[in-house]
Symmetry: D2
Subunit: 366 residues, 4 copies
């Protein structure tokens, strides 16, 4: 089925396996006239690269993007933008053993149940390398949104028990800390926690937060394609995510209406909200406040401890996974969340363009 395509107007299609020749993405429906070069995209890809510090895998993933189509005279032409990233450091020899059993927490068993067999090399299509295409497309969506005054910021909110202090929020730290936390002190504590996990042959989870500033009110469709519903799907479709919150999220279930409602006010002559418990979305449509969401990410399932599982012959066995695995996927997933949010919002904005008859006149009026 078409599970590798996403979006209605700004539509992306990703392809590629962990150990195939290459991975890539085709972006169809990108508006024409956006200045775009490989560096714009590489910037985003570099943010998901491992190896920045001791807490990520020592694998050397070059992940250099090449634009194959859709750009002319330095600008998007409106036709499909095909991007390819060649796999350079994958060695299939590592994976002969796991071909025969199902790793706990991975998709080995479910892929086999669905398709009858699986590409077991590095997880095949279920590898986190699949997100490369998302990030490459997200770079383009972000650049276009940015040109409209819409800016996204994603960061690590917590790793294991270590959360950032919102009062210590420092945007510059996101790209500089090994954890992508906007709080250098918390980042250091998180690194210490991760060092402990590694010593125990274990792994950690965490929380990623994403904020959109500058989004106009009125974006999102009522009923099934609510903006928050679309964002929930976008973010939950990222490998290790197990929960998505919009605005105050899970806290609302224990609140009373009087403390959860955001009062409307007039600010700088415009309608605004006194608080933003709603996270910028009311009735599935953006309200002009910052849009805020959080993704809860599970600990890396590949751990070096001995684990119990089952092999393809239906026997229970003990295994010890080898190879190179991050003790936490959160820092590298930050840019993936940001990318999925950017793609989703841009698509919602393109879809919304015909919401009013007067908008058609603006584009087609004589």
């Amino acid at each position: 089925m078409a599970g590798s395509s996403y979006g209605r107007i700004f539509q992306i299609t990703t392809w590629g396996e962990s150990h195939g020749k290459a991975l890539g993405v085709v972006i169809d429906g990108c508006p024409a006239g956006l200045f775009l070069c490989e560096d714009d995209i590489q910037l985003f890809l570099d943010r998901r690269k491992p190896g920045k510090t001791h807490i990520s895998t020592p694998r050397k993933e070059e992940d250099k993007v090449e634009i194959l189509s859709g750009i002319f005279d330095g600008k998007t032409t409106g036709t499909p933008i095909s991007l390819i990233i060649h796999n350079t450091s994958q060695r299939s020899s590592d994976y002969s053993e796991i071909a025969n059993y199902y790793r706990p927490g991975h998709a080995d068993y479910t892929f086999e149940q669905k398709y009858g067999f699986r590409d077991y090399r590095g997880g095949g299509r279920s590898s986190a390398r699949e997100t490369i295409g998302r990030v490459a497309a997200g770079a383009i969506a972000s650049k276009l949104l940015s040109s409209l005054g819409i800016h996204l910021t994603a960061y690590t909110r917590s790793i294991g028990p270590v959360a950032i202090d919102e009062n210590a929020f420092e945007a510059a730290a996101i790209l500089e800390t090994a954890t992508c936390m906007p709080d250098r002190a918390a980042s250091e504590r998180a690194e210490a926690y991760l060092a402990g996990c590694m010593k125990d042959y274990d792994s950690a989870g965490g929380v990623i937060e994403c904020k959109i500033d500058g989004c106009p009110a009125g974006i999102g469709e009522p009923v099934f394609d609510k903006l928050d519903a679309a964002l929930a799907k976008a973010v939950m479709s990222i490998g290790a995510v197990k929960a998505v919150e919009i605005g105050d999220g899970i806290q609302v279930s224990t609140r009373r209406g009087s403390s959860n409602n955001d009062a409307f006010i007039i600010k700088d002559g415009k309608v605004a909200k006194e608080t933003n418990h709603a996270g910028g979305i009311l009735g599935g449509i953006s309200d002009g406040s910052a849009i805020i969401l959080r993704a809860h990410v599970k600990p890396t399932p590949s751990i070096f401890q001995k684990q119990h599982t089952v092999n393809r012959q239906g026997e229970e066995i003990e295994i010890a996974i080898k190879g190179r695995h991050d003790p936490v996927v959160v820092p590298r997933a930050v840019v993936v969340v940001e990318s999925m949010v950017a793609i989703t919002l841009l698509d919602a904005m393109l879809t919304n363009m015909g919401a009013r008859v007067e908008n058609l006149a603006k584009i087609y009026g004589k």
Copy 2:
């Protein structure tokens, strides 16, 4: 935009406003040959009806469903099933006042920003009455799933601070308690809590849980259309939902891999999992365990306390909402969650039918 349609093969389209002549849903792509009558659907609609107890609105909503097409000789024909529910008790006169201001926590402002104006009668399309179509369609999906041995159970997990005790779980209580809790003692405490809210002119939120038993392994698409991603969208698209969890959900972010991974085992000669932290989905594909999700529902935004807001003239004003409003939407939303989950799973199963070449031979083989 087509925000009122949902599903790829089992595709539903809902329509209707709170105070229009009627509401309804068209279900296209329901497999032919399912025995279906109005009672099958009415059973589900009655579960979302208000007025069962003192904690829900005294409005009398008849919500009688009528089948207009798609059934012949008592069976679905494979062509669109059109269902209509006439609005009988809506009086537009109640709503003259709110036409001019934006209710906090509601979609009044955002609808106006999107469309330029809004049907203010009872919230128009953004009313919770919109869910009638979802539930009517959910009844059909549930009946079909049930015939395949797949059973859904949704219930209230908590209201405000009052949560069920899992050890006291009693399935029969779901349909019998006013709160739809499967724990009669907790339900009584929750009712007492709600009585307090009402005395304070306030409202409460809560958590709904849904469990799917009997789902085969292998359902769901990798990458963007993961089963959990589809479920997240389905559930987040329900009005007051602000967070969605799959399996252990938000708890995974503070866990270590060693305690979050579910070991594979052999049980009754089949592959199974020792625990089910994953909530029945690995890599976006069902693993044969029970599928479990939770929706966090915000407190009803319509409260009778004085609130601050803005009117259409851009003035800040104080308002006091009148009318009939539930102090909590959770009990009535339980069947909505169950319906959206059923629709989503059935659609995923229909989409998955061509996952293997051998499946085509099973259907088309000579």
Copy 3:
């Protein structure tokens, strides 16, 4: 499957069978702010009504439309417009006999092969009454296009061997002649021809032409969603259509390039074409000239002559179809073609709104 929905942004879903309680259509994605009332739609429905003359069935089909949702203060709200047309004159008793055999030229056999059984009353979902929903939606699309200066004209070009004389083209005649021909003399000859068919217990086919004036250049998507491809699908999806031509259509296959190419010229200071063999579409995108297409319609399969066929027991039998059937469907299908073209064009225009980055700034610019 979702075969009863059509369109990406302006999305319609039709439902209903020939002898069910009602037929209808849900239009989702209609831009907000269009003035619309039942009369706007009834005007179109009346054009497809039978009984105008002796050449159409004496059945009395009232086909009165009722708007159930999506309109407030006389304008479209942007939310789904649900339209219902009650069946008033259908009597199921007529159809007991055909339940057991397959009418030649009808979908009896194929529906049974697909779904396992069929609603045999009047053809069920495969009846031409299915087009009621298309026409109701087409009325809305046409009104919106008209407000943008885009006007559609569909008419009968030929019936059997009788074709119009283009030099005698008189637009007013389309709505006044029994054949919907824009040539009164040809219409009389066609009526005489049809009288002959009826005397012979036989039926006739014909050709419908549709012209779009005022369509801006630049509409349509390259590759698979070319405007001509979309129009071909739209028109071929109408029951009896067996061929679709764009511009000069089948004539191009015997032409040379030198006589088929349309030279670009400057006319009134604008780029135009000296001729219009292409029918207003180049590379799948509108070129600013009139868009022209033709549909070839087969003769009504229900004829009163004795015919050979097979029954459900697998026996060859002779049958004589009874009932009320038009000797030609062409005149009533004219407005169906016009409707499908209007819906398709409007959807293409809505989809195209984000083709350029500068268009986003026009809608979302600060």
Copy 4:
């Protein structure tokens, strides 16, 4: 917009321009377990290659396909199959002149109107090289259909005034004649006709026919997604096609019902049709007979005669197109038609798998 994707379950996305680095296609939703190698695809690509004879362009287009993903152990894995074909012989220097004017019969003007500018090198995305991706995907669809006993045959039916003699039909000739005609004598006459066109600096059109044998009855969706409607779109979306006929096509408009209806008979113990005017489709659903369609292809718009046109400065000018252009595109488009038909049919079959409740039990039954 997403105009470069096609299909609901078997979904293809093509990309690439005439003079870009490469062209390609991503096929998502191909069932798992199909044996597939590059040779399977190359076989189809070679059929659309130029240079087989004097009647096609002397350009040397290697068009070697490379599989980048989706295959493991020689079989499709169910995940996206990414195919790339590098451009090797394109020289952009040839196209400096046409950057400034609009070639008659080409999409230069319309692309510029849609997107604001265009990639003028060899027509960019509107080049016939765009069909490479379609053919590569068509090879896969054909192989899968073939494994189900469904076989497609496409061929040239006529070029200019020269048509094949059906009595001289010889399937082997299709791949052996320069014209792809299944009639060697007609092919020679067509070649002579084309030689004349070339001498006159002119070009020719023609007709392509495609036949599907072995398609089971019951495929196709009623109403908008009729099988013939889907095929019409598929074929009309190919560059130069201006008309599509199903079965007897345009001839039906002058026929009477008595001679157009196909009588049902019993043949070899099964329901069959005595004749096949319908072309294997009734009510939009396959009837078990051979499916037959025809595409009318316009003459190559690039001719070497002097032509009148307009430049980007809005001046009328005379031009003479240079370069390498086929005098007829029909022979090379034969495999494109066959590919689009194969893709469309396979997608319809995958979509139809859930048409009956009993089919779900066949796949998911316990």
